[in-house]
Amino acid sequence: MAAPDLLDPKSATHNTKPRLSFSKKPITLSPQEESEVMATVMKWKTVTAIFLLVVLYLVIGAAVFRSLEQPHESAQRLAILSQKLEFLSQHSCVNQSQLEELVQQVVSAVRSGVNPAGTLTNHSSLWDLSSAFFFAGTVITTIGFGNISPHTEGGRIFCIIYALLGIPLFGFLLAGVGDQLGTIFGKGIARVEKTFVHWAISQTKIRVISTLLFVLFGCLLFVALPAAIFKHIEGWSALESLYFVVITLTTIGFGDFVAGGSDIEYLDYYKPLVWFWILVGLAYFAAILSMIGDWLRVISRRTKEEVGEIRAHAAEWTANVSAEFKETRRRVSVEIYDKFQRAASIKRKLSSELGFSSAPELTLPKRAMSINFSDGWDRNEKEAGLHDLTTPLTRNGGSLMNGLDPERGDVSVTEHFK
C-alpha cells in the first residue's frame, strides 16, 4: 500500500493517511515549506504594492475625468438655468408643447447628471475630485452605478481604455485581498478549532461550524454594519440600505441608490471610506459566491454520483436476476428433455417386452406421481422417482398394463411437468 501512494498522484489525493509516515518525505518537504513561507511573505508586500498602484491609478483617472467632463457640465448647467428663467418670465397660461419641451430639457439635463431642481448655487459638481475618484472606482470594480457617466466623446474613449487596464489590475488586487482575508480568517478558525478539539466534536461538524461562523461574522461586518450606517447617514429605509449593499457588492450596481450620491453634506472621509468598504466587501462576497458555486458543484457531483450508483446497482441487480433466470430456464429445459427421453425409452422397452396385451391397472407409487418439479431439482430424487416408476412395472412381471399405462405414466408425468 505504501509504494502506490507515492507513485500514483491520483490515489494520493484521496488518501487520508498522514503522508509523513514515509522516510523519504521529510527530506524533500522542508525546503518546500520554507519557500512556501517565503512566498506568503512576498505576497503581502506584493499586495500592498498593488494597492498603492491602484490608488495612484484611481487618482490619475479622477484627474483626467474631471478635466474632460467638468467644462461640459458647467456649459449644460448654464443652458438649463437660462431655460428656466425664460420659462418663468412667461408666466401666463402654459400650453402643452412648451411644457413638453421643458420636460425634455429637464430629462436630458438629468441624463447629463445635472439636477435642475433646487437652487444651483450650493450645488456641488458631480465631477469634483472625490466624486471622480468614486466614479473611477465604480468603473474598475465593474460595479458601474451610472449616476455619473461620461458624456463627452473623449471621456468615453478614455473610459474604455481606462477600464481595459484597470479591471485586470483590480482583479489582481482583489485576489490578493481575498488571500489575506482568507489567511486572517483561517488563523482565527484554527484557534477556534483548537478549543473545540478539547470538546471532542467530529471534524466535519467543526468545518460546518467554522463556515457558518465565517458567513455570519462577515455578514455582520460587511453587510449589516454598513447598511445601518447608510440608513443613518443617507436616510434610506432598512430594506433600501440592504438592497444597496447587496447590489453593490455583487458588482451589479444599478445606481438608483448610491452612497455619497445625494445632495447631503458629507464628511470628507466618507467617500474614501465607502470605497475601502467596497474593496473588502467585494473580496468577502467573492468568497461567499464561490462557496455557493462550490456547493452547487458538489451537489451536482454528488447527485451525479448517487444517480450513477443507483443505476449501477440497478444494472447489477437486473443482470443478476436475468442471469439466474436464464440459468434456471436452461436447467429446466435440460431436465425436461432428460425426463422425456427416459420416459420414451421406458415406453419403448415396455412396449417391446410386453407386446400389446391388456395389463391390470398399475398404480404408480405415489411418490413417483407426486414428483414435484417446483422444488428440488435433484437428479437423485428424479432418478429415485423414475426408479420407482420402473420397479412396480417389473414387479408385476407379466401383468401387463394396458398399452395406455406407460402412456398414462407418461401423461401423468407430463402433467406434473406442466
Binding site: L7, P9, A12, T13, R19, T28, L29, Q32, S35, E36, M38, A39, K43, T46, F87, L88, H91, C93, V94, Q96, V103, V106, V107, V110, R111, P116, A117, G118, T138, T142, I143, G144, G146, R156, C159, I160, A163, I167, F172, A175, S237, L239, E240, Y243, V246, I247, T250, T251, I252, F254, G255, D256, S290, I292, G293, L296, R297, S300, R301, K304
Partner: protein
C-alpha cells in the same frame, strides 16, 4: 464517447435551466413591478393636469413639478406625450432586466420600484450570480477545445514552437473577438438605435461586456422601437455570448501567463485545469493529449515555489 455525450447533455441541461431561471425571474419581476409602474404613470398624468389648470406658474410649484418628474424619470417613467402604452416591465423587458441582474451588468434602467421587488432582487441575485458563473465556466470549458487547444496544436504541427504558438493564437483570438463582438455589433447598434453613433455603439458593447453597465445607453429603450421583443432577446444572446468570449480570453491569457511563468513571477494563483467535474473535461485524461498540454507540463519550471502541491511534483 458515451461520457462526452453525457457531458454535452449536462451542458444543455445547464443552459436550459439557465433560460428557465431567467424566465422565472422575468415573470416574478413583471408581476411585482407592473402595477407599481402603472400607479406611478397615473400619478404623473394627474400631476400634469393639475399643472396645466393653473393660470399662472410660480417658482415653487415648478420646482415641485420638476422634482416629481425627475424622480419618475429615474425609474424610467417618462411624462412625455409619445411614450404611452409601452411598459418597462412586460415579459421581454423583465427578462432583460433579470439577465442584467444575474450577469452583474446592472444597467439601472429600469430598476425595481416596490419593496417586494427590491427584496426579491436581493435573493434572486444571490442565487443567480454564482449559478451564472457556473454556467459560463462550463460553456467556456466546452468551447476551450475547439477554439484554443485545437488551433494551438495546429499551429504547433505547422512548425511553430509552443510558446510563440500560444502568443500568435492569443493575438488572433483577440482580433477575432474584437471584430465579432465589438465592431460588428457596434455597427448594428448604431444602425438600429437612431440616436447612437458608432462610437456610442462600441462604448456600449465594451461597458456591457465588462459587466460595468453604466446605463447611460440601454438598447430597446426608445419608444416606438420596431420588433422590440426580438431585439431585446437578440441583445440578451449577444450579452451571454460576449461574456463567454471575454471569459475565454481571460482564461486563455491566464493559461498563457502560466506557461510563460508570469503568474509564478507575480506570486499569483495558477489557472486551474478542471474547474468543474473531472469527467466533463475529456482532453486531460485521454491518451492523445494535445501537444500544448504536454509541452506545458514539460516547460513548467521545477522551482519549489511554482509547485502548488506535493502531488504536482510527482506529476511533473
Amino acid at each position: 464517447m458515451h461520457s462526452v455525450g453525457k457531458s454535452w447533455l449536462l451542458l444543455t441541461g445547464f443552459v436550459v435551466f439557465y433560460v428557465i431561471y431567467l424566465l422565472f425571474g422575468a415573470l416574478v419581476f413583471s408581476s411585482i413591478e407592473r402595477p407599481v409602474e402603472e400607479q406611478l404613470r397615473r400619478d404623473m398624468e394627474r400631476l400634469k393636469e393639475e399643472f396645466l389648470n393653473q393660470s399662472c406658474v410660480n417658482a415653487a410649484s415648478l420646482e415641485l413639478f420638476l422634482n416629481k418628474v425627475l424622480a419618475a424619470n429615474k425609474y424610467g417613467v417618462s411624462v412625455l406625450r409619445n411614450s404611452s402604452g409601452r411598459s418597462n416591465w412586460d415579459l421581454a423587458s423583465s427578462m432583460f432586466f433579470a439577465n442584467t441582474l444575474v450577469t452583474t451588468v446592472g444597467y439601472g434602467h429600469p430598476t425595481p420600484l416596490s419593496d417586494a421587488g427590491k427584496a426579491f432582487s436581493i435573493v434572486y441575485a444571490l442565487m443567480g450570480v454564482p449559478f451564472t458563473m457556473l454556467v459560463l465556466t462550463a460553456c467556456v470549458q466546452r468551447v476551450m477545445h475547439p477554439l484554443v487547444l485545437a488551433p494551438v496544436s495546429l499551429l504547433q504541427r505547422s512548425g511553430l514552437k509552443p510558446r510563440p504558438a500560444t502568443i500568435v493564437h492569443f493575438l488572433l483570438l483577440v482580433i477575432v473577438v474584437v471584430l465579432c463582438f465589438f465592431v460588428a455589433p457596434a455597427a448594428i447598434f448604431s444602425g438600429v438605435e437612431v440616436s447612437w453613433t458608432f462610437l456610442d455603439g462600441i462604448y456600449f458593447c465594451f461597458i456591457s461586456l465588462c459587466t460595468i453597465g453604466l446605463g447611460d445607453f440601454v438598447p430597446a429603450a426608445r419608444p416606438g422601437q420596431p420588433y422590440r421583443v426580438l431585439y431585446q432577446i437578440a441583445v440578451m444572446v449577444y450579452l451571454f455570448l460576449g461574456l463567454m468570449m471575454m471569459y475565454l480570453l481571460l482564461r486563455t491569457f491566464h493559461k498563457m501567463a502560466d506557461m510563460h511563468g508570469l503568474t509564478t513571477l507575480l506570486q499569483l494563483p495558477r489557472c486551474e485545469d478542471s474547474v468543474l467535474d473531472d469527467d466533463t473535461e475529456p482532453m486531460v485524461d485521454n491518451d492523445p493529449t494535445p501537444p500544448r498540454l504536454k509541452d506545458k507540463a514539460a516547460s513548467k519550471p521545477l522551482d519549489p515555489g511554482s509547485q502548488p502541491s506535493y502531488n504536482s511534483i510527482n506529476k511533473g
